[in-house]
Symmetry: none
Subunit: 221 residues, 4 copies
């Protein structure tokens, strides 16, 4: 137990001394009354892309699934063990979230591994290989009907993966129903790590637009 | 696109105006040189339990998987699509993280659903049902060999789930090897939402101990 | 029998009156001594792309497979009925051809059907659908690692399909062996119907180069 | 790229200098308006039997499948990869051709391999073996009910293969329908390489008749 990472303990000390006191009542209420988030975020495990950081979200705001390359598998009626689908089902049918945001990002290692047919160590990956094969339909669509023909291929695949995950979300009957009933909305977003820039997908054109263009109140620094 | 959640846009505005400027060089470097996290955290999707929040972690520090009830399936050699296993493989064999922390929490809805055999809406869940069946070996172990006999059963199952996930991690050959070589360490932790209290598992006793007891430097508020 | 297409009968009449007399001895010899072509061409069924026309080839010169979109499936050890693979095996192990040319072309309906997920009539095609799925690896490679980033997507897929077929040819052990022994060479080519222009794939760069640049003697009209 | 067969390059040079200039407008129109062939030909890969040559056909006239021994498999409802069936489906349901001609020829190596149970090299062929097994029903029919009792057995099998392919074509529902609607006609033909002689199958008798007997206008050289 003495080997618990010191950085994490020190970080927890800062949380306990500085963050928690100001949020004590909020945390208390969330413990007593339970969570009731309006937004689910499906994002990547990448250490540089924390959804709560990018959206400056407090406790109780975001129900977050994180997997490699922020992927959503299509609906499969096979009684199998599908962690991401289970989380989506829980968020949509249990918590009744109103929004699902698929959040991708630049320089995604999962997308790089898909493009290079392997992870950093050079092997395809016994688990990573089959997982990122979920990007195959995205790649086929990108090759056949590119949204932006002159795009950098890594960026193109990151966008295409988000679009595919949004498409796959619509294959879940409980999502399809809530979309029809206007109780749920699906969104695509993408984060540029270096520039700290968020882009949001335009549902009409499927193109990604800087978020700063969306609200007059946002500063365009 | 106008329907993108306003709270998220406003939150991103705060990130962009207040957080990012002070971290600009760090984000730039992370974009250029890539991520190199030392710690992987496997935690729950619950909106009240952000690992970066609890550990006050900055960009690049934590590689984070989040699924319902912070579960790790056992190693399966079936070429299937296993998102959590894929993320573990990427973190361990690709990024060569030195620590994996399984982080549970109080009032976990996944554990509640397992205990009640159903989610809030009363149905077991087509996807959630098979997913939280991963807790079955934990429940059997808890029933047969309780670590703390008089424990609250919800808390007992939350702890037991963490212990089971740690056990399952050791079924992955690439983890076993690195544990033997002392290149990797596995840890259990648990967060009390209301009290803002972190507990860490003692590997000798498998009991959970308040983190404040671990380092003299931590304030015991 | 009276309904045999009159155009074909008239065309055969021209062959018999004008073509055959000048080639009588060649046809006689080919009948007696058998065929011994040095080149196999794998091309499309398209009525606008006759290999013998484009290469002005006489009887006995080209062993020709024609299927939709000039596709080569990968080696499959399943005892199934694979017409294209059977033709390749016959040409390589029986006739010992020295060259295999995969010849694609512009405005390929098979590639269009793959990109549009359907044939002219709008349905995917019970047989055409599975057949052109052979283009999926080509699309994935095109999306991940485009040879020419700014390419028209239809042209890009036509080129990518040729590259994939060349790759698939190398999965046949009897081809791999002859490539190693330098008894066989594989080539990619592409025909622009409107301009009557042949392009040949550069094996180093995988790019397609106008054939007129290859031989000084060819006129660049 | 310098190893591209010189004969093909030279042949292309002749096409470009001599054939293309006279057909430039036709090729241009075919590129712009697409192909609209009225006839599909299913013929053999044999280098001595070019359908465009024998029928003196220009660009856009013949949609051509070529496989070993000009075979048509029966309709199979198995979602498998059937190249010849895909081409037939595309021609019939997509291009709406009005005629399908199965064109066989003398001294067919595929038929010889079937009769000898092996290709030139003596082995049955991993791919060729299963492929030419498609001739088995033709052989059984020939043995049981010979059309011409005293026929040379090689010629008999060549004819029988054509008859079997015509029978198999009728097992495709989209063909059966168009035959009933009189929108499609099926024909058998056979080419004698040495004599340059085309024979056409009489649908009443299933016998093959010299094409020169069919139209008064044809010269009987």
């Amino acid at each position: 137990m003495k080997d618990f990472p010191k950085d994490l303990l020190a970080g927890y000390g800062r949380f306990r001394d500085k963050t928690y006191p100001g949020l004590r009542e909020q945390y208390n209420a969330l413990a007593i009354y339970g969570q009731d988030p309006k937004v689910m975020v499906i994002s990547c495990c990448d250490s540089r892309v924390s959804p709560e950081g990018i959206f400056n979200a407090g406790p109780g705001e975001l129900f977050v699934v994180r997997n490699v390359a922020n992927l959503v598998p299509g609906f499969e009626d096979d009684l199998g063990t599908h962690g991401t689908s289970a989380a989506i089902e829980y968020a949509v049918t249990g918590l009744e979230v109103q929004h699902i945001v698929v959040l991708g990002h630049c320089k995604c290692g999962g997308v790089q591994a898909f493009r290079a047919r392997g992870i950093a160590s050079g092997t395809p990956g016994q688990f990573l290989g089959p997982w990122i094969k979920l990007l195959e339909p995205a790649a086929i669509e990108l090759a056949c009907n590119p949204v932006e023909p002159n795009e950098d291929p890594q960026l193109g695949m990151e966008y295409a993966g988000i679009r595919q995950s949004l498409k796959n979300l619509r294959t879940f009957p409980f999502i399809e129903k809530r979309l029809a009933d206007k109780h749920l909305q699906l969104h695509g977003a993408w984060f540029d790590i270096g520039a700290g820039e968020l882009r949001v997908m335009d549902k009409q054109t499927s193109k990604f637009i800087p978020a700063v263009e969306l609200l007059p109140g946002l500063s365009v620094s």
